[in-house]
């Protein structure tokens, strides 16, 4: 029987995995907790713990079996759940913390490193339950290890809830203070969104949306290293040729996600949701989105031309990826988290990449100002204003944007913060010192934008 695949193709796949850090970044099981609402917090927490541990019992073993079968590393197995504000609405502040601990325990029991969905959707307004969840965030995130939280403060159809934006500035600050002994690590588990997707498999912003089934498997692929190699192959080709090379590579990467998603879905007896096409970097050398932009011909990521390079990369990845999977969803764009990308860190340290340029970059890629360390004395209103700017970009451009900033207690511009593992390390970046407090103090809601007259 002849080889149905050529030697070159087999070696190409092996090279991608062994030398270019191709991996499946995450298999995320979405679990609905809508049937876990009980009359008191303890009973609700118990129901949540029982359901998560029962439903996700086989997630990690199945993930490991698939890794062995295909020889492709699956870095993370994770869980996303129904936004907790919907499940624990009536629990009050103390009740929420009990629920957060139950989620943490459940995650530990089944062996997943993060559980997302400690979330509230407040783009138009807040219920008492939403408010209690948001108020509980500093304690919930600083006293648990694996719980990830997100709050959606804006959508294109509702506008920006500026009361929530103002509140989140204070909450981010309080979360940093509550985890001051770990350089504000709690903030690394908190994302403030505009237009949040309901099927995102990536942390910290994953949750199991209200339109989702009882249980679902979503897959996030990775592969900046593979794309980097494809870009480096022909340093002088024109953009049409370059886009084509990136598309081909993205197709191959995404096929791995599709294969793993289907296999996991079949083994677990759970429907396959989506493949998220995002190019997700890691702190490992050669697994960087910034390196790709530099390989396109920029001396440093962050200089003039970076936005154009990123726009082209992002679009080519989507075009290639969309052809490779039956269902694409989640965030599906290049990530630019500073602390998780060695090239971004180097660009910041070289003075090439600033917060303002990162903000511009978020106009053309997923997902926002991500994993950025700022000085510990940054006022809450300034954090709120940063959130408002990102939300405005998302709202007007009908895309997801987010903010995950860490105002590191006691640290100043130029200091360095170590978060460890996939969260990486980051230089503390400067913010503008001019105040935004009168703007944030206005409160209310920025109205939804026109969907016509697009200029």
């Amino acid at each position: 029987m002849p080889l149905s695949i050529t030697t070159q193709e087999i070696l190409e796949t092996i090279r991608m995995v062994q030398m270019e850090n191709l991996d499946i970044r995450t298999i995320t099981m979405g679990i609905s907790l809508r049937d876990c609402c009980r009359t008191d917090a303890k009973a609700t927490a118990q129901a949540i713990y029982d359901k998560v541990t029962r439903t996700a019992k086989n997630l990690v073993p199945v993930g490991e079996e698939i890794e062995r079968r295909y020889g492709i590393p699956i870095i993370n197995k994770r869980i996303s759940v129904t936004p907790i504000a919907l499940v624990a609405e009536s629990m009050g502040l103390e009740g929420y913390t009990i629920v957060a601990r139950a989620l943490d325990e459940a995650a530990k029991e089944v062996g997943v490193n993060f559980i997302g969905g400690y979330s509230a959707l407040v783009h138009k307004g807040m219920t008492p339950g939403d408010k209690a969840l948001i108020d509980s965030l500093p304690e919930a995130l600083s006293t648990t290890e694996r719980v990830c939280a997100s709050v959606n403060v804006a959508t294109t159809k509702a506008g920006i809830n500026m009361d929530a934006v103002a509140l989140m500035g204070r909450v981010v600050k309080a979360a940093a203070k509550a985890s001051a002994d770990r350089d504000g690590l709690a903030c690394a588990k908190l994302v403030v969104f505009c237009n949040v997707p309901e099927d995102n498999p990536f942390m910290a912003g994953a949750f199991h949306g209200i339109g989702e089934p009882e249980c679902v498997i979503n897959v996030g692929v990775s592969g900046p290293g593979v794309v980097l190699n494809a870009v480096r192959k022909d340093p002088h080709c024109d953009f049409g040729t370059l886009a084509s090379a990136i598309k081909h590579t993205a197709f191959k990467i995404t096929r791995m996600g599709e294969l793993v998603g289907r296999a996991a879905s079949e083994s677990l007896g759970v429907p396959f949701g989506i493949v998220d096409l995002s190019l997700a970097p890691t702190p490992a050398i050669g697994d960087s989105v910034a390196d790709i932009l530099e390989a396109m011909g920029l001396e440093r990521c962050g200089t003039h031309g970076t936005t154009a390079a990123l726009a082209m990369l992002n679009d080519a990845v989507k075009k290639g990826g969309a052809m490779a999977s039956s269902y694409v969803g989640g965030l599906s764009g290049a990530f630019i988290p500073v602390s998780e990308d060695a090239g971004m860190i180097a660009a910041v340290e070289a003075g090439a990449l600033t917060l303002d340029k990162l903000e511009a970059m978020t106009c053309v890629c997923s997902v926002g100002l991500d994993m950025i360390a700022v000085p510990g004395d940054t006022p809450a209103e300034t954090l709120s204003a940063i959130i408002a700017d990102e939300a405005a970009i998302g709202m007007i451009n009908r895309k997801t944007t987010a903010v995950r900033v860490i105002p590191v207690p006691g640290k100043k511009v130029g200091d360095h913060v170590e978060f460890g593992g996939l969260l990486g390390h980051a230089p503390v970046m400067p913010v503008h010192n001019f105040s935004s407090s009168a703007f944030i103090a206005r409160g209310g809601r920025i109205p939804a934008p026109l969907q016509a007259l697009n200029n």
Partner: protein, 96 residues
């Protein structure tokens, strides 16, 4: 859908060339009761040994995990890298 029943595994060996690599790997596969369907072997750039085997595990007497572990161990002994991966991973990436 008949492809589903097949249980074909691609074994790849990469490393410094030396005497007896093919024999050692083939012996392990024979002992496992797996059938070698195809072999392709070259020396890349004059020194890197590269061998790709397609094997059928439909009637194998040991599990895929056991075979994989045995091959890996042999790879360590021989100072080469031996990988076993289900054929689907290559089909999925390179064939539509």
């Amino acid at each position: 859908m008949s492809e589903k029943k097949e249980n074909r595994v691609i074994v790849t060996v990469l490393g410094q060339d030396r005497v007896g690599i093919i024999a050692s790997v083939a012996t392990i596969i024979a002992d496992a009761g797996a059938n070698i369907l195809d072999i392709s072997q070259t020396i890349m750039q004059g020194e890197i040994f590269s061998m790709i085997m397609v094997i059928d595990m439909a009637v194998a007497t040991i599990s895929y995990d056991q075979l994989r572990a045995t091959l890996e161990q042999k790879g360590n002994e021989l100072g080469v890298q031996i990988m076993a991966q289900h054929e689907d991973v290559f089909k999925f990436m390179h064939r539509i």
